[in-house]
């Protein structure tokens, strides 16, 4: 039995996740580029509610760090220096959603820095970097998927609707692209374009590259839908009323393709986000100092970082809830879609 709310629930969940990333400035305590060279590779700060004397505080707090010579971990807690965490405080300036200047943060500290997820080699707060990095990676995935689907839909519709030499040419081209190894193509394409570019240019390049490599499969799917929609009698009937090609495409053919496109979107977006992560991880994506989930993981290629600092792995987990969300969405879409399948005329009935 189909659950009509299933689709809605997944959309809401994904929407929330995206909203958090979109409002990264609010949720992140610090500016992702803010360095603190005194505190490289600090493990995640331990937050307490009960202090060393056993007293309970409503407001969570943490201790400043001090260097301990005696223990294995170089940093320990200094129970004399307690710093309280304040909520809805003013902190570094940022632009909400890219244009609204704002200073409000969900939480922050007056003095002392809290590293919820640890810090990296330059003392930058990992939590902030992960949140801001999500903006880059997710945007690359979304825009890339949009580009691919636009390309695929246009090509597929042209091939399927007009047929003839256009169809033959485009489908041979699609076969070629499908036959080429996607990942290698992606890398080669990116690497053969200028490498030493500004972060913005790199971002655009990465997005365009990811978007143009994968058009073939959506194009074939759209072509299939268009072909079968074209042959449907309701399209013939509309032609019988004197409808133009534009009308037919707009009102009958393309709506049939919409469910395929949406499902493809739900499948492609996480793939493309992962592609950006892989590119950046290997140094071909968005460069420093702009954070992206991929280049946050690039430090792990150093052996010392790999074994000593476990919190540097956390950016890889950031994508997991999104994968989950899109997976659920794709499933719900596949179930929900296809109002275009109607059972054959039922035999019997009142007529």
């Amino acid at each position: 039995m189909k659950n009509p709310h299933r689709l809605g629930r997944w959309l809401v969940a994904l929407g929330l996740l995206h909203a958090i990333i979109a409002c990264a400035g609010f949720f992140a305590p610090y500016d992702p580029r803010e360095q603190d060279r005194e505190n490289p590779y600090v493990p995640p700060t331990r937050v307490h509610l009960v202090d060393a004397h056993g007293r309970f505080h409503f407001r969570p707090f943490f201790y400043g760090s001090l260097i301990r010579e005696d223990s294995f971990e170089r940093l320990g807690e200094d129970s004399a220096k307690a710093v309280q965490i304040q909520f809805f405080t003013h902190g570094a300036r940022y632009h909400l959603l890219g244009f609204l200047p704002c200073r409000l943060h969900l939480f922050g500290t007056g003095s002392g820095r809290i590293y919820v997820l640890g810090s990296d080699a330059y003392g930058r707060d990992q939590l902030s970097r992960i949140l801001y990095g999500g903006q880059i990676s997710l945007l690359a995935g979304l825009l890339g998927a949009g580009l691919t689907l636009l390309l695929g839909a246009t090509i597929g519709t042209t091939a399927g609707y007009f047929g003839g030499w256009r169809d033959a040419l485009l489908m041979r081209l699609a076969e070629l692209f499908v036959a080429l190894p996607w990942l290698y193509l992606l890398f080669a394409l990116r690497a053969f374009l200028p490498l030493a570019v500004s972060p913005l240019e790199a971002f655009l390049l990465v997005t365009v590259v990811i978007g143009t490599v994968g058009w073939a499969r959506p194009a074939r799917l759209v072509r299939g839908v268009v072909l079968s929609a074209k042959e449907r009698d309701f399209v013939r009937a509309a032609r019988g009323f004197g409808a133009s090609n534009g009308y037919l495409l707009r009102r009958h053919v393309l709506p049939a393709a919409s469910s395929v496109l949406l499902t493809q979107a739900a499948i492609l977006i996480p793939q493309f986000v992962l592609a950006e992560m892989t590119l950046s991880f290997l140094g071909l994506g968005v460069p420093e100092p702009v954070p992206s989930w991929g280049n946050l993981l690039a430090n792990l290629q150093e052996y010392s970082v790999l074994i000593s600092y476990w919190w540097m792995y956390l950016p890889a987990l950031a994508i997991v809830p999104f994968f989950l969300g899109y997976l659920g969405l794709a499933g719900a879409l596949q179930e929900h879609a296809n109002p275009y399948k109607m059972e054959a005329a039922s035999l019997g009935g009142t007529g």
Binding site: F234, F241, P339, A344
Partner: protein
């Protein structure tokens, strides 16, 4: 009014229609399939011509050519005094309302995502006649005319029964007030009892609206019941034509005889001939 028709002039006339296709699969095939060869017939106003034949005899191809949805390879089609095969798309647009097609399978001929009202008013929308309100009113009137209850107007065809869907298809075909209705196996997908009801509806509409029908079917008995003239098709050609009585009681061609025997067991007419 585009046509001037008097009762002794045929409303729809086909002359030597030919339709050839290249074989669909290989690119290098030189073989052609002749779907229609030397097809000629006439239909007079307010009468019904039945086109009977087995599957693959070319009936549907003929229907598409007559409805101007396919162009014949050669030959002529006359609506009243106008020849239509030579017209371009723009000129055809003015002719199209006069001749409409009702398809066999309403599951395919009705867009499942649209409501009944939208489906029936689509022809008016495409031809850009009438404002929005007038379209709605006309659509409601059409639905009533074919016997679809008013409360179903905003529902999608998915919940309709087979017979109701076909009524919907008929209502849509009537929206542009055509002179000729081509019914391409329009009853074949329906249950027996439902068929009888739709037949009655069609006969009623013919009388009240003065329609001319081209009734295409593989069911000889049904065709004989519904029509004045019968043409028998076989492998793209018309092998026999004549009035119902003549063809049924004295079939000349072997194919006709075979069809009659298959439909009725023996060359006798169980249905009463149509009352003019």
């Amino acid at each position: 009014m585009l046509f001037r028709c008097e009762n002794d002039q045929p409303l729809l006339r086909a002359e030597n229609l030919e339709k050839r296709y290249k074989r669909a699969d290989a690119l290098d095939s030189k073989e052609e399939v002749a779907a229609l060869s030397e097809v000629s017939f006439s239909i007079f106003p307010r009468t019904t011509l039945a086109l009977v034949g087995e599957s693959g005899s070319g009936k549907s191809t003929l229907a598409l050519c007559l409805a101007c949805l396919e162009r014949p390879t050669s030959g002529n089609i006359w609506f009243g005094e106008r020849e239509v095969t030579a017209l371009n798309e723009k000129e055809l647009r003015a002719i199209r309302p006069q001749i409409q097609l009702v398809f066999q399978d309403p599951a395919s001929s009705l867009n499942p995502g649209w409501t009944a009202l939208e489906i029936v008013s689509e022809p008016l929308l495409v031809q850009q006649r009438l404002g929005k309100q007038a379209r709605r009113a006309k659509a409601h009137a059409l639905l009533e005319q074919v016997g679809i209850p008013a409360e179903k107007a905003s529902k999608r065809p998915g919940i309709f029964s087979g017979g109701q869907r076909q009524r919907l298809a008929i209502a849509r075909a009537l929206a542009l007030e055509p002179k000729v209705l081509i019914l391409d196996e329009a009853l074949s997908a329906l249950d027996c009892s439902v068929q009888a009801q739709i037949v009655n509806l069609l006969l009623e509409l013919q009388t009240s609206l003065g329609l001319t029908y081209l009734f295409i079917s593989h069911d000889f008995a049904m065709a004989a019941h519904l029509s004045d003239q019968i043409a028998v098709m076989h492998q793209g050609r018309i092998v026999e034509t004549g009035s119902v009585e003549t063809v049924v009681h004295a079939p000349k061609h072997t194919v006709t005889q075979r069809l009659i025997t298959a439909a009725m067991g023996s060359p006798a007419l169980p249905y009463p001939p149509k009352v003019a």
